[in-house]
């Protein structure tokens, strides 16, 4: 305050009183540009997340670690841990089998092959799958014991590799994937104006994943559905509460438009 001459102080005060304000069009333009920049950022983030999701469970792991309400590092680690084996599982039994087959299976398998050469095409096809599916899944838990302990049903690697990668593993990764899929179905239902169906799907989501990684998104979607189906002071209050709790959620704008008009 002190240390300035009267003239300096007068010029400052006049300058402060005379401060410019943004006129309406300019303000609107800046606001629009800001929201565009924000939308662009979240779109880029969403695309990156989608790419990671497409690559596998790792994507969901990072998403889970970015949602604050989660015990994230543990979950992400669990997802990573569960995400790796399905890739390795079909590969693990493959290398030993060419070696194992001549050693272990020769007395039982090779001879029938020589006796009846028409088995070979059948083997590559569907027949042995019933016997090979089980040992193919097991190596995940005891990868070393499997080829040695079960010499009788020899897994031909070509047949085994085909059905395995499609099998979802029942770990946290698949839980997250399921959660995301369920939410996606609900969002599609909202987009198609099937609001009652969307509400049922979201209720199912809440029942199955009450504390899921996508709980916030689920709650936002449920709020939008409720506001559309039965707007009331209660939904307005819920919308205000949601906006206060998640001001920068990508859903905020939609909630505001739907619930607080």
């Amino acid at each position: 305050m002190s240390g300035l001459s009267d003239e300096a102080r007068r010029l400052i005060e006049e300058g402060l009183r005379d401060a410019p304000v943004l006129d309406a069009p300019r303000k609107a333009a800046i606001r629009a540009a800001t929201l565009r920049a924000v939308a662009l950022r979240s779109a880029i983030a969403a695309i990156l997340a989608g790419l990671l999701l497409a690559l596998g469970a790792v994507g969901l792991g990072t998403y889970a670690s970015s949602t604050p309400a989660e015990p994230s590092p543990g979950k992400a680690a669990a997802v990573l841990a569960a995400g790796v084996p399905p890739i390795e599982a079909p590969l693990a039994p493959a290398p030993p089998s060419p070696i194992d087959r001549p050693e272990i299976d020769r007395p039982e398998i090779d001879r029938p092959e020589i006796d009846r050469p028409e088995i070979d095409p059948a083997e590559v096809g569907l027949t042995p799958r019933a016997t090979t599916v089980e040992p193919a899944r097991r190596p995940r838990r005891r990868p070393v014991a499997a080829p040695e302990a079960t010499p009788a049903p020899p897994p031909p690697p070509a047949v085994e590799a085909a059905p395995e990668p499609a099998e979802p593993s029942p770990g946290p990764a698949s839980t997250l994937l399921e959660e995301a899929r369920l939410l996606q179905r609900a969002q599609r239902a909202i987009a198609d104006e099937r609001l009652t169906a969307a509400r049922a799907l979201l209720a199912e989501h809440r029942r199955r994943f009450p504390e899921g990684a996508l709980a916030t998104e689920r709650d936002a979607a449920a709020l939008v559905v409720d506001c559309r189906l039965a707007p009331s002071p209660a939904t307005t209050r819920r919308a205000q509460a949601f906006l206060a709790a998640h001001p920068s959620s990508p859903m905020s704008r939609r909630i505001r438009e739907t619930c607080l008009r």
Partner: protein
Amino acid sequence: MGAFDSVMDRLRGAHSAGSVSHSPAVTAGDRASPPLTFEEVWEGYADFVFAVLLRLGVPRASVDDAVQEVFVVVHRRLSTVHGPDVLRSWLYGVCVRVTKSHLRKERFWSWAKPLEGILVPAKQWTDAHTERREAFDVLLSLLEGMPAERRHVFVLVELEERSVPEVAELLGCNVNTAYSRLRLARADFERAVKRRQAAEGSIA
């Protein structure tokens, strides 16, 4: 979900205790009032941010971009700020950082200045956009020649009436450094005022 007051109630009042800081680690601790929404901050503070950026020295040609940058940060980080008191201080911090980055960009592209208007259209602060304010322009012209770091301290202390320790924290410098910059800045400002008086005298 407890008490979520109305928008106006929160803009008016709710005093959140706690230190003033722009760092989310500190503001996150102040839970006295729920976070404001982006719209509330935009409506309440767009003009404020605009004026502060100009006083801090963002060139007029790029002040719109700077306002936008500030509000992108607001959108991203608002949930960590609780209460209007902390918000104001936090906004000063964001404005200072955005100003510094704009000045850096300006310096970096200074070599291309002569090409402006040839290669790229020159941006202009036009009267059509915002009416010119005489007293405000005089104030800006007095701040014009001041080195940026002195100007920031001077503006935040003398114009925005923040305390020197708070300004030191906002600018990330030592309190003594802030005092020393303030002293030099006051001298700079007085010299500019004298020059202006002399010029007016010679015209008259």
